[in-house]
Amino acid sequence: MAQAKVLLKRKKSVQNTKKITRTMEMVSTAKYKQSFQRIHASAPYQEKLREMMSDLASAGAEVSHPLLESRPARKSLVLVLTSNRGLCGGYNTNLNILARKLLLEERAAGTEVELHVVGKKGNSFFRARQERITAQYDHFGDQAGFAEVNELAEEFIRRYSSGEIDRVTIVYQKFVSAGRQAPAAETLLPLGGIVLDQEDAATDGPKAAKNYLYSPDPDSLMRELLPAYFKTTLYNDFLQAVVGEHLARMVAMKNATDAANKLIKSLTQLYNRARQSQITNEIAELMGGVEALK
């Protein structure tokens, strides 16, 4: 009976694991939906802001701002968004590898790099590789609020404007669609590229010239809008990263559940076979005993 018993035990243990992974999959699905809703809810703000900026740009507002100035990078800052919790497949590993590559590249180009890490998983990765982590943020969790991101954004704006840092790059999980997310490294500051795209769209649009009352003047308004735009961009990146984390965990847990199912099936077969041969053996022994008594 020994072998069959061992198999039964293993099967039970796999079944228990499956229960856990299955639950985690469902939890992640719910959290994913929730976090996706948050991206969705935050979209109107960003759209409106863009619209205002393109209106302003077409009204001839001068677009010059410390945040737009591109300088040769002597000192750059890399911000990596990882998760606090694991069990989400290659999510953190991929992000960390990309961030590390970026660090090495920038260093090779002679730039001094400051590493800022969000999430415990990034922390342990870089600590294990003896990288100096200048700042570590674990308080964002999986529900990054705007107020918290805002603090971070203001700090970046202040340091960038004062010339302390010349570039800010973010490494995060970019959310393209529910089926596609990929780690991405994007330059947050200088703002350059992002804003210019919007202006092109504005000049092509039918609403190119609108007569607005401006208070204060367009130039000052633009100076106020740009930091706000930067803040929402950063906030949005955080939201995308969170969606990516939940999706990655969902997929990882689904794979684990599927693997468990397969394992259970083969273990059941093995167990049945073992049990059957045991019964056959027992009968044969019995028959042998009966024969001997005759």
């Binding site: 935050s42 703000y45 609108k210 009352l213 401006y214 208070s215 809008l225």
Partner: protein, 129 residues
């Protein structure tokens, strides 16, 4: 009667949407009242009370900075933070003011002071009513 379609949006979500009769926004240099058929307007907001009158009711909230856009009887208020009047965090503003005191950031200190005074005034008036 013509109405204004009003939306209040924060980076996290749209918190208010209604067809309003009249809207008062706290612009950076004083309050602006907006009625239907208002000219197109793009203005920066300061700290103060946003008042939206619709269906005979008035919705009030404290906004702290942001922007307002008026175009074709659509009013969009973009703000980092909109607080219901009972939830105004005077203590937080006080703390912030103390932090700035003596840091040599004169402009920020003045702004924080103004913010605190406005919050206090609004809260007091709300408590009395």
């Amino acid at each position: 009667m013509a109405t204004l379609h009003c939306t209040v949006v924060t980076p996290e979500r749209a918190i208010f949407e209604a067809d309003a009769d009249k809207i008062t926004v706290p612009a950076w240099d004083g309050e602006i009242g907006i009625l239907p058929r208002h000219a197109r307007l793009l203005a920066k907001l300061g700290v103060g009370v946003l008042r939206i009158t619709f269906q005979g009711k008035t919705e009030e909230m404290l906004v702290d900075g942001g922007f307002v856009q008026v175009a074709d009887d659509k009013v969009t208020v973009l703000t980092d933070k909109a607080t219901d009047l009972p939830d105004i965090d005077v203590k937080g503003a006080e703390k912030r003011l103390e932090e700035l005191r003596g840091t040599g950031q004169g402009e920020e200190f003045a702004a924080a002071k103004h913010r605190l005074l406005t919050m206090k005034r609004v809260k007091d008036r709300f408590n009395r009513s």
